[in-house]
Amino acid sequence: MIRQMRLKKTCLAMMVGLFAFFCGMTDPVWALQAGEAEGIYDYAKLLTEEEALELAGELSELAAKSGWEIFVLTTEDAKGSSAREYSEAFLDGHLIGDDGIVYTIDMDNREVYLATTGDAIYYLTDNRIEDVIDEGYDYVVDGAYKAAFSGMITATGTAYDKGIPSDQYTYDEDTGKIVRYQEPKSVKWYEVLVALALACGAFLAVFLGVLGKYRLKWDAYKYDFHANGRVDVTNQEDRLVNQLVTHRHIQRNTSSGSSHSSGSRSSVHTGSGGRSYGGGGRKF
């Protein structure tokens, strides 16, 4: 009986030990890298420790502003997947919320890639992603990876500051479906002011209306000249003296209707994890 219990204890201890070992094994490099520089996953070791820390600061700044989760990712081995698939798989594994982006330098596929999801899709339209990649591409080619990431992060901040383009739309590459961006419904401060002003107006209208009526300030008798009057027209003339026709060219509004300008398109597709992703990259 006692031996049996001992055996059980030994088994339990071994299982705990194994579990601990495997846990350590699954994420040994990431844990090491993520230790200080949060959000920096430099598997390809392209950044020095200082550079990683500096980038982490820039990341957290943009993250605080935008509310997105932002990562920097480098790899030497994309495990056979494309830069896009690798980036999206990474986001699938690391995102806690819905909104996030990852800047990836994939040395395996020799591609710099930016993947977006959630709200970031609306801000980072296809054109803006191109602009962001532009800011980093030349540095990547030159091997200045820190500068490449910094440039892309700054460009993303600029895009975020511009806000969502008013004519932004999302184009689903899988289904071809186009969805126009609609602002989440909310009450703006000026709408509150207008509503307050209307409410004050309504109060005064009722209050003063009744007050004036009861105090005989208005509502006094007015002679009704329609009821007491009669017109007898004996002579009537309506003579056309001039006629003028002018015309003007109607400006066709080209952006409206079914045609969408490509300037504010965000192309999206569904990633393997079921999440909707936007993004873009460039080979180097």
Partner: protein, 367 residues
């Protein structure tokens, strides 16, 4: 015939005009008489003399029709004038404008006929159609209908005085002749292809004709509260009757002390404006009208001195404050200041404001 009391041929009681039946009623034997029957009777007469008339300038009133001197003096007399009651012989003191009243002692209705003759003979009259009971009922119904009057305000016992008064008014009718010239525009817009066309047609418009306007009434008694007396207008003027003294029996009546000359300019100007508006309205069917000339001249005008029935009512609120009301004796329209329940009014205004705010925010949310 300065002081008249209409007596019942059956019992010698006083006859008064009964608004509900439109006949003359004896309050003692309950007999009723029509206007024709009354006309055949000879009313009892009393005497008139100026108050403190030391010269004893009394005028016997047993002659049919009043001489001009009598009428004039009444018109000029600023002071109170004393009459003797045809029923009891007591002295009746009145204002210079009183034309019908009650004897203070025997409470019999007396009509001071001399006050309403000659120059002061009203052209027309609208007899009372609402009697005292009905007036009281209608007044209470009116107050009850008002949502912001304090609840404690509704009480029949608080009506301290309710009397039927014939007030004097000047009524002005005018016929105008003239013409109006205007430039008018009609604009039509249509699209063909990618072009928008605007067609503007210019017209010269002219109208010539006559405008008839009737029944512009204005208060003709200085001591009357203009707001209350004119607030009960309008009357159904097409039911006006030729004036007869009998209608005044049982009511108070006042004669005018504002002459038409004092009102003529403002009333004529007012009428002219109405006539111009009517003339302007004959031009229709245009996008815009620019009046160049609108000239009307009076072709014919008529002034009528009329007596119109008003119930005047004094109401004592529970805080002791007196409120004065007037009611149209023909239609029942009430005019007068009402007390306000500020708590209730604030509450309702607040609710309306809150609902507006809610709707406004909802609208802002949905936009």
């Amino acid at each position: 015939m300065a002081v008249i009391s209409f007596k019942c041929p059956n019992c010698d009681g006083e006859l008064i005009f009964d608004p509900s039946s439109g006949k003359y009623k004896c309050e003692y034997c309950l007999s009723k008489f029509t206007q024709q029957e009354l006309d055949a009777l000879t009313p009892a007469s009393g005497m008139e003399r100026p108050a403190g008339g030391a010269d004893g300038n009394t005028v016997p009133s047993d002659t049919a029709g009043t001489d001009d001197a009598n009428g004039e003096r009444a018109a000029d007399g600023e002071e109170a004038v004393i009459y003797s009651c045809p029923s009891c012989g007591a002295e009746i003191v009145t204002d210079a404008t009183t034309a019908a009243t009650f004897c203070y002692y025997c409470h019999n209705p007396v009509v001071l006929g001399g006050r309403l003759e000659g120059n002061y003979l009203p052209n027309k009259i609208i007899p009372f159609q609402i009697d005292k009971k009905e007036a009281e009922k209608r007044f209470l119904a009116y107050v009850k209908k008002k949502k912001f009057v304090p609840k404690a305000f509704f009480n029949k016992r608080q009506i301290t005085m309710l009397s039927g008064v014939y007030f004097p008014y000047w009524m002005y009718d005018a016929a105008f002749r003239g013409s109006i010239q205007a430039e008018a525009k009609n604009i039509r817009v249509w699209r063909r292809g990618d072009k928008e066309y605007t067609e503007t047609k210019y017209y010269h418009v002219e109208r010539e004709g006559e405008v008839d306007l009737n029944h512009l009434a204005e208060n003709a008694l200085q001591k009357a509260n203009k707001q209350l007396v004119e607030g009960v207008l309008p009357y159904q003027f097409d039911t006006m009757k030729d004036f007869t003294m009998g209608y005044l029996s049982g009511f108070t009546a006042e004669k005018r002390d504002i002459e038409k000359e004092a009102l003529a300019e403002s009333m004529q100007g007012e009428m002219q404006n109405y006539a111009k508006s009517l003339m302007r309205e004959t031009i229709s069917g245009y996008s815009s009208v620019n009046v160049k000339n609108n000239r009307l001249t009076v072709a014919k005008d008529t002034w009528n001195y009329v007596l119109l029935p008003v119930w005047t009512l004094t109401y004592k609120a529970q805080n002791g404050k007196l409120y004065y009301y007037s009611m149209n004796g023909q239609t029942g329209k009430v005019c007068g200041e009402l007390p306000i329940d500020y708590k209730k009014l604030s509450l309702v205004s607040g609710i309306v404001a809150a609902v507006t705010l809610g709707l406004g925010l909802l609208g802002g949310f949905l936009i």
